[in-house]
């Protein structure tokens, strides 16, 4: 059985936290540039110019793209033939988050308890960690830091089967119109359809780890992604101050659900759709 030292996980996570904060993925950067070419509003064009310039400065100078370096969402796929030695998986990941956020001069934005005391943990831990056991003897880690300006505008709607495709569109557009200019558009919209309430929400997060240029492999969902993107770009929300580039992409993930249900979750991501992946 293959062995992997927990320290290697910690070091990889620390490095990925920094990379995700500094380097906007190429697909998103190119998406912003395409948006700048087609944007109709002059003030929208000026906002996109600043956003593109910002991405270039952050990358060139190893600086956080946004001051909200997020709560750290971590997707881990553990091969069932892998043996992790020298510590617990979750501890290794959280140590990596603490190391990366401290060494990388990233903002520590996590409070230990949400309602009564709200004391900052001062190292951005704990992360939100999702672990899946898969075939093989490798470990795949994806880091997706999530800012809360956009997270606060996300939502779940528990539809019923009779609501159908039109119901899904209406639920998504309700959430988008309510979010309006607040979640730092141009947005990337992650949608989870099916499962249970919690599974739909998780699918909507996973959708945001997919490239903005990659459509859902099932043609019906790919078409729905395109239709929703068109509708969102017709809202006038634009790049924050009004315009035609409200979203860069809509990514849908779906899963099996109950005969009585049609859960729909929408995670709105700002233009800082940051993530980093590594296989150990």
């Amino acid at each position: 059985m293959r062995e992997l030292d927990a320290k290697q996980i910690t070091d990889a996570v620390a490095q990925m936290c920094k990379e995700a904060a500094y380097y906007l993925p190429k697909d998103v950067y190119e998406g912003l540039k395409r948006g700048r070419e087609t944007e109709k509003s002059p003030v929208g064009q000026a906002v996109l110019d600043q956003i593109i310039k910002n991405a270039e400065i952050a990358r060139a100078e190893d600086r956080p793209y946004c001051q909200d370096t997020g709560m750290t969402i971590v997707f881990v796929e553990v091969g069932q033939d892998l043996h992790i030695t020298g510590g617990l998986l979750e501890d290794a990941i959280n140590e990596g988050i603490a190391k990366g956020y401290t060494e990388g001069y990233l903002r520590k934005s996590v409070v230990a308890e949400p309602l009564f005391n709200r004391v900052n943990t001062k190292n951005n831990t704990p992360g939100v960690i999702y672990t899946k056991i898969v075939e093989g003897d490798k470990l795949k880690i994806t880091i997706a830091p999530k800012g809360f300006g956009s997270e606060n505008k996300s939502g779940v709607r528990m539809l019923v089967p009779a609501d159908g495709v039109e119901g899904v569109k209406k639920a998504v557009m309700d959430i988008i119109l309510h979010a309006s200019m607040n979640p730092c558009p141009p947005m990337v919209v992650g949608i989870g359809i099916g499962g249970t309430m919690d599974r739909a929400a998780l699918l909507s997060k996973k959708a945001l780890t997919r490239s903005i240029d990659e459509r859902n492999p099932m043609p019906e969902y790919a078409k729905l992604e395109e239709e929703l993107l068109t509708l969102i770009n017709e809202t006038g929300i634009g790049p924050q101050l009004g315009g035609t580039t409200s979203a860069l992409a809509v990514n849908i993930e779906w899963g099996p659900t109950h005969i009585a249900g049609l859960p729909v979750a929408v995670t709105i991501c700002c233009h800082a759709m940051r993530h980093a992946s590594r296989v150990l």
């Binding site: 956003i51 952050a58 956080p64 793209y65 001051q67 903002r107 607040n182 809202t235």
Partner: protein
């Protein structure tokens, strides 16, 4: 975009009343950063009849929690946070003499009413343009609540800090105007 209007702080009501929505502004001088936790503390202090740690007369508040500065830099990345979270505290804060607010996103009716009453202008900086905005910040000094870390109240010395007037002191709203102008959506 029109030529920018240069503003030097302190920011008086007279200066505020001259600005209108869509004005492209470059701010030079001092602005004060405060966000969620600091607003809560200040409003609790006022409710108890205590004095605030900062004199807000003719000040501009910037809704900000920066990343830590790298060695040799005055500040880390420092873009605006969502202003709407401060709405519950804002009318109370505007009574303290604040004449400008810098953030991003919409404001409540109560805030706009208080802006009209007090002659206050609301500016938006570009959300997420945090590494770029940092270039216009020359100095960062914590003034109060250092234990709040990135949420401490701090003075920023800025030079040509870029922002745009989104709600003026007559209550005109650039978000509403522009969103209507570019909206082609039907049926939703």
């Amino acid at each position: 975009m029109a030529e920018p209007i240069r503003i030097h702080t302190p920011f008086t009501e007279e200066m505020s009343r001259k600005l209108k929505i869509g004005d492209n502004v470059l701010i030079t001088g001092e602005i004060i950063a405060a966000r969620d936790a600091a607003h809560k503390r200040m409003c609790e202090a006022l409710a108890k009849g205590e004095k605030l740690p900062v004199d807000w007369k003719n000040q501009m508040v910037y809704y900000l929690g920066p990343t830590p500065a790298k060695p040799g830099d005055p500040i880390g990345s420092c873009g605006p946070t969502t202003s709407g979270r401060m709405d519950a505290y804002t009318p109370t804060m505007l009574e303290q003499g604040i004449k400008g607010m810098i953030g991003k996103g919409s404001r409540s009716k109560e805030v706009v009413d208080s802006m009209i009453k007090n002659g206050v202008t609301y500016f938006a900086a570009v959300g997420g343009a945090a590494a770029l905005i940092a270039k216009s910040v020359k100095k960062y000094e914590v003034l109060a609540y250092p234990e709040l870390g990135p949420e401490a109240v701090a003075r920023l010395t800025v030079e040509d800090f870029p922002c745009i007037v989104v709600i003026d002191c007559q209550g005109n709203n650039l978000y509403d105007v522009n969103q209507k102008k570019y909206r082609t959506l039907q049926g939703y």
